[in-house]
Symmetry: C2
């Protein structure tokens, strides 16, 4: 699909060449060690909880300075190092041929390696080790998750393969962010900001009420926890196009955290948050205050909700006045509310009244 038009895709092509060189250097280092009669050893940044740091300046989680060493002289590490070399070789082949594979496909392909993976979990860890070792994302290496990302609707034009696509003309469900979103160029955008919502129910409400035209925005339907591709897309829209990003999810700890992972990244992916986090994105509801101010239909907090809210209140990403106040208020109320509960006031209320108020459009 992309082979014919690589000359135009300079950004993509540069990134591909860069990753290819990294993979090649990774192998050459090992070969050089052997040629010098040294036992090959790799220095890999530690991903243990002790080395995951919330960076106050960057406003997302990063990896600290600790490194681990993996040596072919250590019997315990031979298997893992061997697998890593195989994975690196597999990825080099993918990058060279401009292909991708799912991590599931790689798991099956490893059957032919002699030191195949015993579980999917084992192959995932080696994939992440390679990400950290090379400072490249899994997507750069050609390894893709199964699932697609969010849906986008509104006036943005993308170059995906050989075709230009405007996300306001791609159907009622919009343009789907594929796992290969980094190969897509953002050509043009007429919108003023990006509005992301948790559910496709709310996405379709916004599209149906023409929110994209009325607010002049892009509408993004996150489909729950945002996929890596969605987070990458949102970051690129924010940085490359300079669009402010607003996230409006359900009023419960899970909705809060779906937003927060987009904003500040996750601890687990500290080694790639620089590509995924959008620290300037803003959460604009549904809050405990909204539940009171709009007299929303609610459900009582479950034990697990209470537990999660208490966890969040101690999380470094929730140390602002806003979050501390809203979490305390929700715990006191003992109630949560879904975004769609605004339809108590009619289908259009959320678009006519709620969003304009939260976005300060009136």
């Amino acid at each position: 699909m992309t082979g014919e038009s690589t000359h135009e895709h300079t950004h993509k092509e540069q990134r591909r060449q860069y990753t290819f060189n990294k993979l090649k250097a990774f192998g050459q280092e090992i070969i050089e060690d052997i040629e010098k009669n040294k036992v090959p050893t790799l220095k890999i940044p530690s991903r243990g909880t002790g080395n995951i740091v919330y960076d106050e300046d960057k406003r997302y989680y990063i990896l600290g300075d600790r490194y681990g060493r993996r040596s072919l002289g250590n019997v315990k590490q031979i298997r893992k190092l061997g697998q890593m070399v195989y994975v690196a070789n597999f990825c080099k082949d993918l990058v060279q041929r401009d292909k991708t594979a799912t991590i599931r496909e790689m798991y099956y392909i490893s059957e032919g390696w002699g030191i195949e993976f015993n579980t999917q979990q084992e192959s995932n860890i080696v994939g992440e080790d390679l990400e950290v070792a090379l400072g490249a994302t899994r997507e750069d290496l050609g390894l893709m998750p199964e699932e697609d990302g969010a849906s986008v609707y509104g006036d943005i034009t993308l170059l995906d393969g050989d075709y230009e696509i405007n996300a306001a003309r791609a159907g009622k469900s919009g343009y789907t962010i594929s796992p290969t979103i980094d190969q897509v160029e953002l050509l043009d955008c007429g919108a003023d900001f990006l509005l992301a919502v948790e559910t496709m129910g709310m996405f379709h409400r916004l599209v149906q009420e023409k929110a994209h035209e009325r607010y002049n925005c892009l509408i993004v339907g996150l489909k729950g926890q945002a996929a890596r591709a969605t987070r990458r897309f949102i970051k690129r829209v924010n940085e490359e196009l300079g669009l402010p990003v607003y996230i409006c999810n359900d009023g419960d700890p899970w909705g809060f955290h779906i937003a927060q992972v987009i904003i500040s990244g996750s601890a687990k992916l500290a080694h790639v948050n620089h590509d995924l986090a959008t620290p300037d994105a803003k959460f604009i509801g549904v809050t405990a205050s909204d539940i009171q101010n709009y007299d929303l239909p609610t459900d009582p907090l479950k034990d697990i909700d209470v537990l999660r809210l208490k966890e969040l209140s101690k999380d470094p990403r929730y140390q602002t006045d806003f979050w501390q106040t809203e979490i305390k208020k929700m715990l006191k109320l003992g109630k949560k509310a879904e975004q769609q509960s605004f339809s108590k006031y009619g289908l259009e209320y959320v678009v006519d009244t709620y969003f304009p108020e939260k976005l300060g459009l009136n």
Copy 2:
């Protein structure tokens, strides 16, 4: 989105008018009863298991002849009937304004009705009652599920709202079937058949290997159990465009049944299967025979898999020689296999060898 161009959408407009008249007649019947001093009574086809019949000629489940009566003279039925009238009125408004609502939105809107629903479950049942009573689908009534349908890739041109979309030019993840797929016109199609696969991992493999060009087919990524909109789309492609449909899922009871529900419909939705089932669609694997013939990597059947396979073997939809043989063989093997396990032979094997063999393209 559609208001401006309704004159072109004759099929859609006719369907809308038809549903609107049905909803109006539903209310008028009740009014007439009252004006004649009769207690309003509704005759509703029974959806009990005793009235769900597998029709050998139609090759899908239908509702039998049994009816139930709901009377406003029966204290136990007043609440449910009242809710039904409210839902019908709500739907009449939706259809009139050419809008849709999620069943979740309707649940919240019912707060203002005085006889609101206590649970989402309760409102779902009333919605289904109305479907059965009117012989219309929930989508015709403007009530939509939350989730989107499958992804489609390949040479089919659709009219969705005001825009023509070709599913080979809508991005790597293709065109997403929205819940309002019945408002979309199938304008043109250059493909010879439709090939549906269970996972987006396999969908992306097929797209990447250009299977749509090599086989001249549409590729559909089902994303697990097919949504109603997906089933409706597949049926329309089969009937309106005359394209054969092939389904290739994982080699386990769940993969089998995802295919079978597309082919023969589900018992639960017997009242709308005439709009959803595609009896001529064919399942083309992964089978127990494939596991043996291609020497695929497998997982052992779990207890729940064995139980499910035994259930399927007694199901009227699985009474062909093909299914009886394959189910028996899988039980004997004690193994199941995923579609992506073909990547044991390399990423391209499934497109170069397996599909052509199963489709008889060589």
